[in-house]
Subunit: 193 residues, 2 copies
């Protein structure tokens, strides 16, 4: 039986994002986030890796970097990047991503948020979501926030929240690149091998 | 009982590293690797995070960035970075790191390598190393390679190798930032919470 049963995508959200004093801001797309995320996407079999920003120039930047590695000079320099970059998409908003996936699969995806702080309600464990992935067909969209995390204004559109990532300490200010890597590995990694 | 029992450090090696045609090279230290690694170090309770390079200018760069966040302007801008940056060290070689830890703890650390390719001999599973961490006092030094991975010339000094990281696909070209995050989480993460 194949694992996971349903297609999974993930989104790095650049708006709406909290800044350190709790206001909504837009953060900047960075080259390395595109690369690290695309390599995670290929490793963990993600259908798509969406970079969400309402700033058109930044969506163009995503296209230029992606195309460099899919059809441009990057294909020769490092062919392995292609497999990840093929999964990279951009979108104006989380709502647009959700609509895109709904049209593609004829069913609304389950939106699963992540946060460095416990959200209380709508909680699902990693084991609970792993079980969903093994048993159910509903597509999943995982959401990761840049800056100081996903804006509370997104919470109404999110179905479930994964708990914060903890090591053996009480510090959990991971980079979003690390948080994406760890979350995908907890959900989809082959830990036995 | 505390977990882990023994102090653990990790090292991001910039020399000797394989390039894509298998030659030994030195790679460049990058700012984001210092930041992402230092935040992992604080989250997973690492004693030290060593950046290894024989290039003196690059070791100075590590110092300047670290000091900016520990005693410089960064302490006000983002106080949480301090906790991670305090663990950042630099060294000329893996041997120097091993000697430093040997002197500090009066016992040679167990050197554990990582690789995107199975190394065959000297293999230890994640579960096996987790058990070591729970039961034994010998300090651990985890080694991560930049570029195309740790040079085979280091293999003689490495005691054990962790297996490559796999998701549900046959692609495993992760960024070293992702590999560090996933490895530390597999070994030390609180997965039940």
């Amino acid at each position: 039986m194949s694992f996971p049963r349903a297609p999974i995508s993930f989104t790095l959200v650049h708006y709406p994002i909290r800044n350190k004093v709790g206001e909504d801001i837009a953060t900047a797309v960075t080259n390395l986030d595109i690369h690290d995320g695309s390599r995670l996407a290929a490793t963990y079999g993600m259908e798509h890796y969406f970079l969400v920003t309402p700033i058109e120039e930044q969506r163009s930047l995503v296209c230029r970097i992606r195309d460099h590695w899919i059809t441009g000079p990057g294909t020769k320099r490092n062919p392995q990047r292609q497999e990840g970059m093929k999964r990279v998409e951009h979108a104006n908003s989380v709502e647009d991503v959700s609509e895109f996936l709904t049209k593609k699969h004829n069913v609304r995806p389950l939106l699963v948020g992540t946060s460095a702080k416990a959200t209380g309600e709508q909680a699902v464990t990693y084991e609970g979501l792993r079980q969903h992935l093994a048993e159910k067909d509903q597509p999943i969209l995982l959401l990761f926030g840049t800056g100081w995390g996903l804006s509370p204004s997104l919470h109404n559109t999110i179905d479930l929240f994964l708990p914060p990532i903890w090591g053996p300490t009480d510090y959990n200010h991971l980079s979003v690149r690390a948080a994406m890597a760890i979350t995908l590995d907890r959900l989809l990694g082959r830990h036995g091998s």
